[in-house]
């Protein structure tokens, strides 16, 4: 159980994000829940690349050959962070505009196209 502890945390955060979107009553709340959901992948990737006793993979102050943690997942996470923030920016723009056009911030009122 403890061996895989961060992975379960990642699963939990993923479900929390989904739960937030499902119960949301305000579109900004929906967007923030989505941001939370995305952080689950940070935990997962970070935990995968971590190594007990490993150093940060920056050879400015450690000599080559020292055991480090995985730099690849960190590069992937950098991409991930930027992707998250851009998608959130775009979604927020939609929320703002939807409010300006429809005068509502509730997902219950998004039903312009039912059926």
């Amino acid at each position: 159980m403890l061996d895989h502890y961060p992975y379960y945390v990642a699963a939990w955060i993923f479900l929390c994000g989904l739960y937030g979107i499902v119960r949301s009553r305000h579109l900004v709340h929906t967007v923030i829940s989505l941001a939370i959901l995305q952080t689950s992948t940070y935990v997962l990737l970070l935990a995968i690349g971590f190594r007990k006793g490993g150093y940060a993979p920056i050879f400015a102050d450690i000599s080559p050959g020292v055991v480090t943690v995985d730099p690849v997942v960190q590069a992937l996470m950098l991409t991930d962070v930027v992707v998250e923030v851009t998608v959130i920016a775009l979604l927020l723009a939609m929320v703002v505009k939807a409010y300006e056009q429809g005068g509502t911030t509730s997902p219950d009122d998004l039903r312009y196209m039912r059926g």
Binding site: I32, L46, F50, A89, L92
Partner: protein
Amino acid sequence: MMILGSGLLALIAVSAFVIVRTDDVTNQIIALSFYGLLFALMFFIFQAPDVALSQVTVGAIALPLMVMLAITRMKHREELNKRKQEKSR
């Protein structure tokens, strides 16, 4: 380090749930910023200074700021509409 990290992970798990359960958006922004900082701290502990730096700038500052700007703009519009209504009366 591992114990500190595990504790931080638990804290993150709890705050994720708290944030999605918070209905008031302003409170959520503050919590989100705090949550971003927790992540930055965790990246430092788990030897990922690059990601930590980008998390501090993006997750703890840029992201909450953007939500705040969006809400400011929405409030601004709300006020405009109110004024319009008052005038028409």
